[in-house]
């Protein structure tokens, strides 16, 4: 029984790791900026496209294939450095404090623009580039074979989780972010550069999404429509965990990935439904998500 379950658990955890990168970015941006960024999935797919193209270029240029690992990281950083500040300064900043409908619509407009830009730049064919996964190969533990790349994903996800915790609890920037989240006006009055905090938080969110995309390319490849698919999945995870909850996003990723893997195993027709059924069930019982703190409602 355990022999059968272990590969499934491994699969679920690797999936959870990939979902976690996107969802934690979404939840971070929500907690700092109070904005549900509908274009978040686009950053994921742009990261994926850049990483895949860079990987293909590395191979065709005849460079050392092991360079494709730093390339994954580099492409995510590139996307974040270019798009993060640009988008935050021009569009997102304008929506602070406005009605949710406007925030969602502005980011939906951005999503549409980014989707077509990807089509124009990268074409409509799917790109598949699995050098990093092939390089790492498989390892055998107790007679069962595991993809080493999956192990790497899990380790990286844990690193991001603890990195985020450390950042928020123990660094100056983290403290500033917590202060801004708690009360923007008072932070401003205390001399915190809230504009800078917003740019940094948003850029970090973009980086995490792009990193998720870059790391996903070796396992799934990248094709048009990926951004839209990822977006709704990240929504579900962030909502289950409680919007703004980093640990919540981690737990929710595991729940959602577990539900997906179970669905694939027992009822393949329902694998895409599973995350949303879980989300509906959770929100029915706990409207603020598993770890969300209840805010006083106005009624």
């Amino acid at each position: 029984m355990l022999d059968m379950a272990l590969p499934l658990i491994m699969d679920a955890l690797a999936n959870a790791a990939l979902i976690f990168f996107v969802a934690v970015g979404l939840t971070l941006v929500f907690s700092v900026q109070r904005i549900l960024n509908v274009a978040h999935g686009s950053f994921y797919s742009i990261g994926a496209y850049i990483a895949a193209s860079m990987g293909l270029w590395l191979i065709s240029a005849g460079l050392n294939p092991w360079l494709s690992f730093p390339a994954l990281l580099l492409s995510a950083a590139l996307v974040a450095m270019v798009l993060g500040p640009l988008v935050e300064r021009t569009l997102i900043r304008w929506t602070y404090g406005r009605h949710e409908a406007i925030q969602i619509l502005v980011t939906f407009g951005l999503f549409l623009i980014l989707e077509d830009l990807q089509r124009l730049v990268f074409g409509v064919r799917s790109i598949y580039q699995d050098t990093p996964m092939a390089l790492l190969g498989v390892s055998e533990i107790g007679g069962i074979f595991y993809l080493n790349y999956q192990l790497l994903l899990i380790v990286l996800a844990l690193a991001v989780l603890f990195g985020m915790r450390f950042l928020i609890k123990h660094t100056r920037l983290g403290r500033l972010l917590v202060a801004v989240v708690a009360d923007r006006e008072v932070s401003l009055a205390m001399g915190i550069n809230t504009d800078r905090a917003f740019v940094l938080a948003f850029t970090l969110g973009v980086f995490l999404a792009a990193l998720g995309g870059a790391l996903a390319t070796p396992t799934t490849g990248v094709a048009p429509g990926l951004g839209a698919e990822t977006m709704v999945l990240a929504f579900a995870v962030a909502a289950i965990g409680g919007l703004g909850q980093i640990e919540g996003a981690a737990v929710a990723s595991i729940i959602v990935a577990g539900a997906k893997v179970l669905a694939v195993y027992y009822a393949p027709a329902f694998d895409t439904v599973a995350p949303f059924l879980v989300m509906l069930a959770v929100l029915l019982v706990r409207p603020n998500g598993l770890f969300g703190t209840a805010t006083t409602r106005k009624i």
């Binding site: 329902f270 895409t272 409207p287």
Partner: protein
Amino acid sequence: MKILYALFAAAFAALAIVPFAAPWLQFVLTIAIAKGFAAVGVALLLRAGLISIGHAMFYAAGAYTAAFIVLRSGISDLFVLLIASTLVTAVIGALVGAYLVRYRAIFFAMLNLAVSMVFFALLSKLYGITGGTDGLRVPVPTVLGMTLTKAGFDIVLFYVALALMAIIAGLGVQFLKSPLGHAVGAIHTNEVRLEYLGVSAWSVLLIAYTISAALAGLGGAIAAVSIGHVLPDYAYWTESGHLVLTAVLGGIGGVAGPFIGSIFLEIVHTVAVGVAHNAWNLIMGATLLLVIFFLPQGLYGLVTKSADKTSSAKLGENKS
């Protein structure tokens, strides 16, 4: 206001001669009006300050209901199909709404999204019932017992859609003037005060949600018989986004707004698709941003600039 009515009458007359003056526009306009119904539904919720990124599911529900009735029961009268689809979608809307209208703001948006994604996934996976991602073909319905050719049916459908648009617009104007219509706007401006007045926000919203679902279902049914094919993609979340976009582009200040937005978008799409096929979403996205930034009352706001501005006419004003 008289000028406004004259303007609408003129626009309506111009639309009515389209099958003769510009036959290529007929199909485009039928779809535009169909989507316009759904956009009116979305606009109604936007007036209450609620944004639904899931309304395409009701559009798809209407379309699939029409397809099911034709294929399973053999009843194929156009009017039966439209009425039945609208009613079925209204029931689905009431059931879903009873659960969802308890939520506000982002939670409302996200839950609508989640329900619609479940719906979308079921449509694409339950191959035996829904035809999976291939969808279902819808044969040409009969009209009051008459069997028509596809071309003849399309003309009839166009005029039926046009007449329905006029009826819905008329009813909509009356609804917005009614106490219930004002209550919907009041949920946006001050929900607490509305409750103190003894009006249940939950029931007001449930009625609004049911109406908006029924309108989307009507639109979906028209689209289904016009295109002759229904697909799960009708329910995908980006379609829901487009419905909100249409409503906001047209303007949520009056019933005419979403129709104006829908007709404008479909015509521009038809023209632009040859020029910039891969950049259509880009144009839409940029247009949406421009409208939000510079034209918060939408295209309709341009028409009614002189008319008085009610507080709920502007998207997202009076944050409560």
